[in-house]
């Protein structure tokens, strides 16, 4: 099964499950894996964080066969402390499936020409056409092999262009060759100011032209960047660098705007040190710049991916107002990307697990989605104050001895006094518990075993306390 005009391209896919499962949320960390794979073959295509592909033919010949190459890559990536799976097949689609075949630590190699047989038993849903995934099983075509057995002309007639694409995939033909990212080519764009720019305005103006150049360079190679790094270097050697989310969505003007925010944010922090008494804060940073002015501005595209013509940012259900986005980005320029977050309700039993904070501008799904039943979750009403790190506390009975909870959830004596980390003792007037919680005992790393209490103190304050390993911790306050 070879495409017209030569042998099928052999493709090797490296798949790291950590990114797919969300246990490694930082896409930047994948860059290390990509750099490592680049040592085997300089032309790497990053499909998404967690998955990258190389053409296997050349490197396999050099490293003594596809199996040897795959095992070398697995070993090298394992040295980083990252688990990965490798698949080799004709074409990208089959290689991705091969990489996902559960056979940890071993490479799955589909022999040349055997792609169609390899694909045949897989369900049709994998062909990536949601409509067909629904329709084909109802027509009695459950597997990729059954679909591939249809004549190509019939597939086009019945299912249109989506059907044609899916049919090509099912026959082991890839719709496109690999688009590797040019790792050696420097796609950054920079401009030197000589003499150094004293004002922010000319820098912002130059940034627009610079961003246009960078975008043209990327577009010429069919690439987009996930993030752009803006680097500003002063004449006296001071440097300020910030990452901005790009996703191929920012216009040149928008990049220039971010340069302006970055400069304004920098000035705001500078003012803190020097002139906080006379100018506590300033709304715009368009005045002169000290430190000898700005000598260099550089835009560095980061995490290059294939440009797919993405149009809209996915910012959750609520579209973000332009004014709000501007304000949030200004604050991010001052305090850093992670400083402005949006809360996302997630699933969980305790008060801390029920919320995931996502940096503004990032799209993320909670590890455990909300809206599922969580038997044993904390009953309503929810506490108004949830400490990100539980505060240590002491709870004693009437005689002053610390209250303990046995393995069978029995308390040593009714709690009578409460003191949260160094604060004065408060008499407990009513309490409820213990409610034992034993979570994820099958996974030692994230398992926990606790007993929860609700305590109401004499001043009317209500607390959510927990006993873990004999220690009292205050998780939340209801007031």
């Amino acid at each position: 099964m070879t495409p017209a005009g030569g042998a099928a391209p052999r493709v090797l896919v490296v798949w790291c499950p950590a990114w797919e499962r969300g246990t490694e949320p930082d896409a930047r960390a994948f860059e290390q894996v990509v750099t490592l794979v680049e040592e085997f073959c300089p032309r790497v295509e990053v499909l998404r964080p967690g998955v990258c592909a190389i053409g296997a033919r050349g490197p396999a010949r050099y490293f003594g066969g596809e199996k040897a190459l795959a095992e070398k890559i697995i070993d090298a990536v394992a040295c980083l402390g990252v688990a990965c799976q490798v698949g080799v097949a004709d074409g990208l689609f089959a290689a991705q499936l091969a990489a996902r075949t559960p056979w940890p630590g071993r490479a799955v190699i589909v022999a040349p020409g055997a792609t169609q047989e390899f694909l045949a038993p897989h369900p049709v849903g994998l062909l990536g056409q949601p409509e067909l995934a629904d329709l084909l099983p109802r027509l009695g075509l459950q597997t990729v092999g059954e679909f591939a057995a249809l004549p190509a002309a019939e597939a086009v007639n019945r299912f249109g262009s989506a059907g044609a694409l899916a049919h090509r995939l099912a026959r082991g033909l890839d719709p496109r060759p690999l688009i590797s990212r040019p790792s050696s080519v420097d796609l950054s764009a920079s401009v030197v100011f000589d003499p150094p720019a004293e004002q922010a305005e000319p820098v912002v103006f130059a940034a627009k032209a610079l961003a246009e150049r960078m975008h043209a360079d990327l577009a010429a190679r069919g690439l987009a960047c996930v993030r752009v790094q803006i680097q500003v270097i002063c004449a006296d050697g001071q440097e300020i660098t910030r990452w901005w989310r790009h996703d191929g969505l920012l216009s040149s003007l928008a990049v220039a705007e971010r340069v302006r925010w970055q400069l304004a944010g920098w000035r705001a922090t500078e003012d803190e040190g020097g002139r906080s008494a006379t100018a506590p804060y300033r709304l715009s940073g368009d005045e002169g710049i000290q430190d000898g002015g700005i000598a260099l501005l550089r835009l560095i595209p980061d995490q290059l991916v294939r440009a797919t013509g993405r149009q809209l940012a996915l910012w959750g259900e609520t579209a973000v107002d332009d004014r709000v986005a501007r304000a949030a980005l200004r604050v991010q320029a001052m305090l850093g990307h992670g400083s402005v977050t949006r809360p996302l309700l997630a699933g969980g039993r305790g008060p801390t697990g029920q919320v995931t904070l996502v940096p503004f501008g990032d799209a993320a799904d909670p590890l455990f989605p909300a809206g599922r039943p969580w038997p044993g979750r904390l009953p309503a009403p929810a506490p108004a104050t949830v400490y990100p790190v539980p505060r240590s506390a002491r709870v004693t009975d009437e005689s002053g001895a610390s209250v303990t909870v046995t393995g069978r959830a029995l308390i040593s004596a009714p709690p009578a006094w409460l003191s949260a980390r160094g604060e004065p003792w408060l008499a407990i007037i009513s309490w409820a518990g213990p409610w034992p919680v034993t979570e994820r005992w099958w996974r030692p790393a994230s398992s926990n075993r606790q007993a929860r209490f609700q305590l109401v103190a004499e001043d009317g304050s209500a607390w959510l306390a927990v006993v873990q390993d004999g220690q009292w911790l205050i998780e939340a306050s209801y007031d």
Binding site: T318, A327, S339, V340, T341, R342, A380, S430, W431
Partner: protein
């Protein structure tokens, strides 16, 4: 219609073409941001006046209840300096978590952060990391007035137009070793400046059994009476 010489009262809607005296504050759109129905009678004008500062004495569910009504009506809310905000409680009170920006640690330059966020969000809930100087305070008040937002301070604020505080509270549903926290009955006092100087008091369920905020009448209070103890 507001004409020359008329005092602009809180709650007046000023439209293009109206004549305003120099020094009067012109507010875009409705002059008042909506609040939860239970809080309407506490606040002069029945809502949060745009361009005003509301102080609540201390951090607590009352702050969340104050901003929940406007958030549910579509306003964006920035929460500054409160890393321990209980988002679930906020959502139960009516706050829309999709329209919330959290700035847990605004750092020493927090007045600049507040000013930047007032530019984008109609509501800013702030717990000042330190006591602001009078000049910083006045600058921020001017920014609030200029941009027509509402600054809710979880703490004290000298120039606040309205102050609210929890005078009395009592948890219901929990006893000595039995039951669980079900609802809290609180007495909220509100007083303002000028025309709104009258002291207003109201008993509220804050929170009610499902986390919502409702007016506590005597019937509702009686329902939770068994099993409660006065908390003084």
């Amino acid at each position: 219609m507001v004409r020359w010489g008329d005092a602009v009262r809180p709650g007046d809607v000023i439209r293009p073409g109206d004549v305003i005296r120099p020094g009067d504050v012109i507010l875009p759109g409705d002059a008042v941001l909506p609040v939860l129905p239970a809080l309407r009678k506490l606040l002069p004008g029945g809502g949060l006046h745009r361009g005003s500062v509301v102080a609540t004495g201390d951090w607590g569910l009352l702050c969340l209840a104050l901003v929940a009504g406007a958030s549910a009506a579509g306003a964006w809310c920035a929460v500054i300096g409160l890393p321990y905000l209980g988002v679930v409680a906020a959502a139960d009170a009516g706050l829309d978590p999709d329209r919330v920006l959290l700035i847990a640690d605004p750092g020493p330059g927090w007045p600049q952060v507040v000013a930047s966020l007032l530019d984008g969000c109609e509501l800013v809930l702030l717990r000042p990391p330190d006591r602001p100087s009078a000049s910083v305070r006045r600058r921020l008040e001017a920014t609030v007035r200029r941009l027509g937002g509402v600054l809710v301070v979880a703490g004290d604020w000298d120039g606040a137009q309205t102050r609210l505080l929890v005078a009395d509270q009592e948890w219901a549903g929990i006893g000595a070793g039995h039951g669980r926290l079900r609802a809290r009955r609180v007495q909220v006092l509100a007083y303002g400046r000028g025309a709104a100087a009258r002291l207003r008091a109201r008993w509220l369920w804050l929170p009610g059994p499902d986390g919502s905020v409702t007016v506590a009448d005597e019937i509702g209070a009686a329902r939770f009476r068994p099993g409660t103890r006065s908390t003084g």
